[in-house]
């Protein structure tokens, strides 16, 4: 992304005299340019997805072809407007997207927008849980590995990090299910909650859709423990995938900062090794972690599709897999577009946070 920001449009004014002005307006300008860049990104992805999906033919033939006689099929294609020129359809689709209308699914005749809201919260919950696991596992272990560099703990942790990356979420999920649900019987096999607590939580006033948040808000401890028991394994499976990346990142960056002079100065003043690693070396190492966290959102969302299918977690990814099997490409397109928007917006937020923390990023 950063390569795009090299030339702000106001450069024509001349570089030298405006030196003072630029330091004053730098951040505001940076945020504005960065914000405006979201739109081409989303537009490119929407355009690509739209045209790629249409290369295969119209969605109705894909979903119902072979199951309906050709005359009825043609009738429905005309009714939905799929026989018009593709550019007309494209601009109509863009217009609909701006007003928040994603169309109607073909397989179960629902509003795509409504479907996205219902299942989006489940995916959000899973992603948040996984991110918590990833940070809780990755950051402390990364600091340990950096502190014990090239010793046995470092070697073990680095192998662990690569293993985290090398294990597909559906395989770690399968292993977790086998161990903790089937053999030990500690945790439930699949789903987000028992039907009873699911009913209690969805009948709340203005539910957030994030079950543990709803359970805490309503003070329902039985439902909370049930929800948490269901959440552990999916969050672990998805969280470990990114935990390895955080671990390595923290390790490399802390090793980098541990060699700096100010750390040496702290050591000579008698600051404890623990404090040196956790305070002095760790904080400057945080900036790349925030940047990578933004990229990890994309990885987490991709992983969520697989995790949700593994654990029958009824979120966007689970629905995506279901709609893919049903060849319902209107719904698939809706989900993909929503995820594109989420990724673009997250990257924007991450870039802004990084700029706020580190002035050098702003150029």
């Amino acid at each position: 992304m950063t390569t795009l920001i090299e030339a702000p449009p106001t450069d024509a004014d001349g570089l030298l005299p405006s030196k003072k002005k630029r330091t004053g307006g730098g951040l505001g300008q940076y945020i504005l340019i960065r914000f405006l860049l979201i739109f081409p990104t989303i537009l490119i992805l929407v355009t690509m997805v739209f045209f790629l999906m249409r290369i295969t033919g119209d969605p109705i033939t894909a979903a119902l072809g072979g199951r309906l006689p050709p005359e009825q099929l043609a009738e429905r294609i005309t009714a939905a407007g799929y026989d018009r020129p593709i550019l007309v359809q494209y601009f109509e689709y863009l217009g609909q997207l701006i007003t928040g209308n994603f169309g109607t699914t073909l397989s179960d005749n629902r509003q795509v927008t409504e479907m996205l809201v219902t299942y989006g919260s489940a995916t959000l919950e899973l992603t948040i849980n996984a991110l918590i696991v990833a940070l809780l596992v990755g950051i402390p272990l990364g600091m340990v590995a950096a502190h014990r560099r090239d010793k046995a703990p470092d070697a073990v942790l680095r192998i662990f990090a690569i293993l985290c990356y090398a294990t597909p979420v559906f395989f770690s999920g399968l292993l977790f299910k086998l161990t903790f649900s089937v053999w030990l019987g500690w945790l439930p096999v699949a789903g987000r909650a028992r039907t009873s607590s699911e009913l209690q939580l969805t009948s709340l006033q203005a539910p957030t859709g994030i079950y543990w948040l709803d359970a805490i808000r309503s003070g329902n401890t039985a439902a909370l423990s049930d929800v948490l028991a269901h959440a552990v394994l999916p969050a672990l499976a998805l969280g470990l995938l990114t935990a390895g990346i955080f671990l390595r990142l923290v390790r490399t960056n802390v090793i980098g900062t541990l060699g700096k002079d100010y750390v040496e100065a702290g050591r000579s003043r008698g600051v404890s090794e623990f404090r040196l690693v956790t305070k002095h070396a760790y904080k400057p190492a945080l900036i790349p972690i925030i940047t990578v966290m933004g990229l990890q959102i994309a990885v987490l969302l991709g992983g969520a599709v697989l995790t949700e299918t593994t654990f029958e977690w009824k979120g966007l990814g689970f629905q995506l897999a279901t709609y893919l099997t049903a060849r319902d490409f209107v719904a698939v397109q809706g989900i993909v577009v929503l995820l594109a928007v989420i990724v673009a917006v997250t990257n924007f937020i991450v870039d802004i946070v990084a700029a706020l923390i580190d002035p050098r990023v702003r150029y």
Partner: protein, 336 residues
């Protein structure tokens, strides 16, 4: 030995063997790093050999459900005639895991070769020509790069095959899906290198001599810009396996009758877990993990060894390293 240290040092440039990417890295490595590299190479070698000799290793075909003695039993525990048991459909798990290596390697080779080819050309052209073409390509590549790779692969799989396919159709579809994910990565690396090299004196002088743009790109820049490719290749090969398995797991892989695919087998194994049947899922899963682990270890080691800051400090091999004079040692670490 005891004479002038410079004469005992053998320049690795002398032999082509010592200059091969992996061999030169092996010579540079010490201690833990060497251990990781060797482990990675071993796992990768096992994977390659399994893939090549799959017809000899596998006792049965990947879609075979009966032999001369009659049909295979369903969901039989490991042991006896079926080393790793059988699936619910009566397939032999061991045979399918072995054949799966062959599918995986075909997809990796097709995918990585295609994405290197396209990505390198686009990166060279974009970086060398610059201007609006460069801008547009960068925006597109960034947009695709930021997007979850699995979703890009899913969309491509829909486009290419509508999701269902035969052996070669499935392999090509999976490979193209993965290619689209990888092109931006090669594009970025090569473009950045091209922009750097464009300003180098030797490119300038080639221009002065009158070399055409195509010749400068293909001779002068390409050869210098590709030194990072072995690293991206190994890392991408492992990612390609994960993407292929992910596609297969979502039901977008290759039909079980046309080829064996680890992700697809894991999807089918998911239903078995609740009844405590572990062998249908654990073995294909382990195959994925070990293969990816092997490739990643090789890639990681090459990466660390290329970067002097990350390279293991040589004190572990003090006796050996001391014999090399500082100048020659610097020379050695400069060439990659």
């Amino acid at each position: 030995m005891s004479s002038d240290p410079i004469t005992t040092y053998k320049d690795p440039r002398a032999s082509w063997f010592g200059r091969l990417p992996v061999v030169s890295h092996f010579n540079k490595s010490v201690g833990l790093q060497r251990g990781m590299l060797v482990t990675g190479l071993l796992l990768t070698a096992i994977f390659l050999l399994t893939a090549i000799f799959a017809p000899l290793i596998a006792p049965y075909g990947f879609s075979q459900i009966s032999d001369a003695d009659g049909g295979f039993p369903a969901q039989q525990a490991p042991g006896g005639k079926h080393l790793w048991g059988t699936t619910v459909g009566g397939y032999d798990v061991f045979s399918r895991v072995v054949w799966g290596a062959q599918t995986a390697i075909m997809v990796i080779v097709v995918a990585v070769v295609m994405s290197i080819f396209i990505g390198v050309i686009l990166g060279l052209v974009s970086g060398y020509i610059g201007g609006w073409l460069d801008r547009i390509l960068v925006v597109i590549a960034d947009a695709v790069y930021a997007f979850p790779s699995l979703l890009v692969a899913i969309v491509m799989a829909i486009v290419i095959s509508g999701g269902r396919s035969s052996l070669w159709g499935g392999i090509v579809a999976a490979a193209i899906s993965i290619t689209v994910v990888f092109i931006p990565q090669y594009f970025r690396v090569i473009r950045a290198e091209t922009i750097r090299l464009k300003a180098e004196p030797f490119v300038e002088s080639a221009k002065v001599v009158g070399a055409s743009n195509v010749r400068i790109m293909s001779r002068h820049i390409f050869k210098n810009a590709t030194r990072t490719l072995p690293l991206i290749f190994t890392l991408n090969a492992s990612e390609a396996i994960l993407t292929l398995a992910g596609l297969g797991f979502l039901g977008f892989g290759i039909e079980p009758t046309s080829a064996a695919e680890w992700g697809f087998d894991l999807n089918k194994a998911l239903a078995d877990t609740t009844s405590g049947i572990w062998w249908t899922g654990v073995f294909p899963g382990l195959a994925i993990v070990l293969t990816v682990l092997g490739l990643t270890l090789v890639g990681e080691s090459i990466n660390d060894l290329n970067d002097p800051r990350l390279r293991g400090r040589k004190k572990a091999a003090a006796g050996k390293a001391d014999r090399i004079p500082p100048r020659a040692r610097r020379q050695r670490s400069n060439q990659k």
